[in-house]
């Protein structure tokens, strides 16, 4: 790999793959990085990512299909590569095969996704308490069931998807509680044995917490992209303009890292961002870019409004200034 690339996409979930495919099809030379061993992001373990939207395609099926499209479009996919830093001049620190290098990119697109939000509760640090994502990775990727009796703290549609995954894995859902989890307490000696809620006690081995997703925007923040706090988008997110460009020229972002969203929206948003990047490189006409935005707005519903309303109270990440005095 050259240490200069035209477009570096960080993250190979639906938004990153969508962006890479669209940009490469428009003629950009694209390198796609992912820290995991296989491309697909959350699609790798979501058995029913489109629950409620009518499609019954599974996450892994879509991941394989999109990865094939990306390869066919000429995207250079680098899995098992961790992008650990972002620096001035659109430079990225990348570690592959135990060696770290710095690459410079004409354009960067962050599609760094999200992590599952942690929901503290009494006993919540006991072994046997996992995020929804953790349990889906164990069950659906590693074919490993971390216990027999499960408590789900999740709302639909994810609760339905998790229950199906657990039942197909020969596990049992003992109790499903709302994600607002009123009064839940976990008990056990060296691991979860019981859960109490609403005055009832349930014998369980595993407690699954689905408390939403937290945008994982660390690299964009490190690149000094201005950010704001948006409860509707899941937390502290980089601000993007109508073309998915951040406040740093040449750095774009899409998908969960600019606001937690469904997989189909992430895919549409990534595809739009990929065309937008191609437009900024002069590879497609502005009319093509505008058409892509119109298609995206149709797919994304009111998300575009939420993205443009990210509060501006934290426009600047202030550097720690030397000589500052504490109150």
């Amino acid at each position: 790999m050259s240490d200069r690339v035209q477009l570096a996409v960080v993250g190979s979930g639906p938004s990153g793959l969508g962006a890479a495919i669209a940009a490469a099809a428009a003629g950009a030379r694209v390198v796609l990085f992912d820290e995991n061993g296989e491309a697909g992001g959350q699609l790798r373990y979501r058995s029913r990512p489109f629950e409620g939207s009518g499609s019954d395609v599974t996450g892994p099926e879509l991941a394989v299909s999109l990865t094939g499209q990306a390869i066919a479009a000429g995207v250079d996919i680098r899995t098992d590569c961790r992008v650990w830093g972002a620096f001035q001049g659109r430079a990225l620190g990348v570690e592959c095969d135990g060696a770290s290098i710095v690459i410079e990119a004409e354009r960067i697109l962050f599609a760094t996704g999200s992590v599952d939000r942690s929901q503290p509760f009494p006993g919540g640090s006991l072994p046997g308490v996992f995020t929804a994502r953790a349990v889906q990775i164990l069950l659906n990727v590693h074919l490993m069931r971390p216990g027999r009796r499960f408590a789900l703290i999740a709302d639909r549609p994810l609760a339905t998807e998790l229950a199906r995954d657990i039942e197909l894995s020969d596990g049992e859902v003992v109790i499903t509680l709302p994600a607002s989890m009123p009064g839940v307490v976990a008990h056990g000696n060296g691991g979860v044995e019981r859960l109490t809620a609403n005055g009832s006690t349930y014998d369980v081995d595993v407690i699954v917490i689905a408390a939403g997703r937290l945008p994982d925007a660390g690299l964009a923040l490190m690149a000094e992209c201005a950010a704001g706090y948006s409860p509707a988008l899941g937390g502290f997110v980089p601000r993007v303009d109508d073309w998915m460009e951040t406040t740093v020229t040449g750095i774009f972002a899409a998908g969960d890292c600019v606001g937690a969203c469904d997989a189909d929206v992430a895919l549409a948003e990534g595809a739009f961002a990929g065309i937008s990047v191609a437009g900024s490189l002069g590879l497609v006409r502005q009319t093509r870019r505008a058409e892509a935005r119109a298609a995206y707005l149709k797919a994304a519903g009111n998300r575009a409004g939420a993205l443009s309303n990210v509060a501006s109270s934290f426009d600047q990440i202030d550097r720690v200034s030397t000589g500052a005095t504490a109150e």
């Binding site: 820290e35 046997g128 953790a134 164990l138 490993m144 971390p146 060296g190």
Partner: protein
């Protein structure tokens, strides 16, 4: 050496028998692992729940996020502490131990 952890909680592998396996040890006990899987999958499948103990309180931790972010699953691998079991693939002969507190780098040039 710690007592082997029991598996009364019903952890186990799903589906077909494992054909492509390697052997690791956890606190001296031999554990069969599927080639290429992360350490935590092999340990959980063997009934292990506790992977480390917190530095001050001594509380048990056993993995939480499984995507390399939360630090719950750090173990000692071949003398090196703070190895994330959820993103570290197994390798034949790997020597894995419960991590107590912050761990130490006694065997390392650091």
């Amino acid at each position: 050496m710690n007592e082997p952890q029991t598996n009364l909680h019903g952890a186990g592998r799903i589906g077909a028998a494992v054909t492509d396996s390697v052997t690791i040890t956890f606190d001296g006990r031999a554990i069969s692992a599927v080639t290429g899987e992360p350490l935590i999958a092999a340990l959980l499948a063997a009934g292990v729940r506790v992977l480390r103990h917190m530095p001050r309180t001594g509380e048990a931790r056993g993995g939480y996020c499984l995507v390399g972010r939360c630090s719950d699953c750090m173990v000692v691998v071949s003398g090196t502490p703070n190895v994330r079991a959820c993103v570290t693939p197994v390798a034949d002969g790997m020597i894995v131990e419960t991590q107590h507190g912050l761990g130490s780098w006694s065997g390392s040039p650091l």
